[in-house]
């Protein structure tokens, strides 16, 4: 008898990959998002059109890039455009269906902090900053957040709003002139959170295999709402895992 097991990175990657549909255009960052997009393209979404912020449009790397400006992205792209074009002509113009975001902190309305922990002028921890995230969150058709679940990361209110999720609730995005739908799901190592359509507040809607609801609520720094019908994440298939592992070079644990 074979028992399929996986790491928390792998279940996050596979869940994120499944969120991508064939023929979508996808703004990809390095790390899990890049792995997820490349898994999707090798499984159910062969027509996924991947864009990296270095200007590589429609790239089909044969291995995972080491950075968002890796040479393999340029070598395999439909075309490489200068950075102003990728931000102005592609992202800002609303041509990207889905963008991935990571975060150091996220709050109950899916606002995202990648700037500082603590006070901005004298921070406890200085993080890399905004990069492409504010406009990915603003202008992509939708955004998918991937991050590990912990009370330190899932906080009632972020220390710094680097990228706007759903503001202080429903209607805020429209008021701020943000044209995409914003974060439509937050994929963690425990499950999936989605904004309530009426309030914009994140609700637990999916649980990974073997995870209990209480684990998730305890790892969340606010009173997390739980959907009536929490959908269990189907276990990663052997195909999915083997594609993930061939890309990351990791063996089965």
């Amino acid at each position: 008898m074979t028992t399929v097991t996986w790491t928390s990175d792998e279940i996050m990657t596979v869940t994120a990959a499944r969120a991508l549909e064939d023929e979508m255009s996808c703004f990809v960052g390095i790390g899990l998002p890049s792995t997820a997009a490349n898994v999707a393209r090798r499984t159910h979404a062969p027509g996924l059109w991947m864009v990296y912020e270095s200007g590589t449009l429609g790239t089909v790397p044969d291995h995972l890039p080491l950075s968002i400006g890796d040479g393999v992205l340029a070598d395999t792209a439909d075309t490489v455009v200068p950075v102003p074009e990728v931000f102005n002509y592609w992202l800002q113009a609303g041509r990207i269906d889905v963008g991935f975001l990571g975060a150091a902190q996220i709050d109950r309305y899916a606002n995202i902090n990648t700037t500082v922990i603590g006070d901005y002028s004298s921070p406890a921890i200085r993080l890399p900053g905004a990069g492409g995230a504010p406009e990915i969150a603003a202008s992509c058709g939708e955004a998918i957040v991937i991050m590990r679940h912990s009370r330190r990361a899932f906080v009632d209110q972020v220390d710094f709003v680097t990228s706007v999720g759903h503001g202080r609730g429903k209607g805020d995005r429209e008021r701020l002139g943000l044209r995409g739908a914003g974060p439509t799901r937050v994929i963690t190592d425990l499950g999936v959170l989605e904004p309530d359509p009426d309030t914009g507040e994140l609700v637990l809607t999916g649980l990974h295999p073997g995870v209990e609801v209480e684990q998730v609520t305890q790892a969340t720094g606010w009173g997390l709402l739980v959907a009536e019908n929490v959908i269990p994440t189907p276990a990663p298939t052997e195909t999915e895992l083997s594609v993930v592992r061939s890309l990351t070079g990791n063996r089965q644990p």
Partner: protein
């Protein structure tokens, strides 16, 4: 036009200058950055969309007074520890920061290259970047009444980039991921380009950017000058160097040792 790197930096970069060493994970002008450290330049305002390890080194060496940027990290590895140490603890010197998003910085360079005082974009709305940076504002479309973000042009005193090739007249050719280098060069008062080689004629390459020699002040031949980043068609990224930097940069003493041994200058601060 073609100068040694030592002479080019001495001629074009001065204490107190606003300096952009640009490159988007590709063609990072690392050797030029090390020469700036070696010459002991001070009070620089460093500008870059993606300050990475060479900026960490410049900051740790005490060259910078201010950093203007949109994402400061060790690409594919993690955080910049010298940058963190300067911001959080003021070591070796306090570092003023002005931060933007990539979209904002990109358009600041475009405005600088275009001779415009500012640029407009859809961006920043609702973020805390707005309140913490007076160089983010808004203007209203005179036709539709829509409000859009505005950022001032950036016009570095000097832009430094690395490219694959130049010809003896200073025409510069780069290809692969070309990033923001064209705009960063056109926005600058002076332009220094380090190159892998000088060629008599520049055979056209698909996807190339060609910077006409008349906007280039000095070319320095520095083969490998972008390492540990890469030069498309010349050499690969040395990923282990990026990973090794994480360890070196976490520790002030290890950094000081690196500074003395690798660059040949004394440390800027105690530990």
């Amino acid at each position: 036009m073609v100068l040694s790197l030592d002479e080019a930096v001495r001629t074009l970069v001065h204490d107190g200058d606003t300096v952009a060493l640009e490159g988007f994970t590709h063609l990072i002008p690392v050797a030029a950055g090390h020469e700036i450290i070696r010459q002991g330049l001070r009070d620089l305002t460093l500008v870059r969309m993606t300050p990475d390890i060479v900026y960490d080194q410049l900051i740790g060496a005490g060259c910078a007074r201010k950093l203007v940027f949109s994402w400061g990290g060790n690409p594919g590895v993690g955080s910049l520890h010298r940058f963190r140490d300067a911001v959080v603890h003021g070591w070796p010197a306090p570092l003023e920061i002005e931060e933007h998003s990539h979209a904002g910085m990109t358009n600041r360079y475009v405005a600088g290259a275009s001779g415009l005082p500012f640029a407009i974009l859809r961006g920043y709305s609702g973020t805390d970047l707005v309140g913490n940076n007076p160089n983010i504002s808004t203007v209203t479309c005179p036709f539709s009444g829509q409000e859009v973000a505005a950022v001032p042009a950036v016009n570095p005193d000097v832009t430094v980039i690395h490219a694959q090739r130049a010809d003896p007249s200073g025409n510069v050719q780069l290809w692969g991921i070309t990033g923001i280098q064209k705009e960063a060069a056109l926005a600058a008062g002076r332009v220094l380009v380090t190159v892998e080689e000088v060629a008599e004629t520049l055979e056209p390459v698909p996807g190339q950017v060609l910077l006409p020699g008349r906007i280039v002040d000095a070319v320095s031949v520095v083969p490998g000058g972008a390492a540990p980043s890469y030069a498309h068609g010349y050499y690969e990224r040395d990923n282990s160097a990026y990973q090794a930097w994480d360890g070196i940069s976490r520790d002030r003493e290890a950094f000081n040792t690196w500074l003395e041994e690798q660059i040949g200058v004394p440390a800027a601060g105690g530990t």
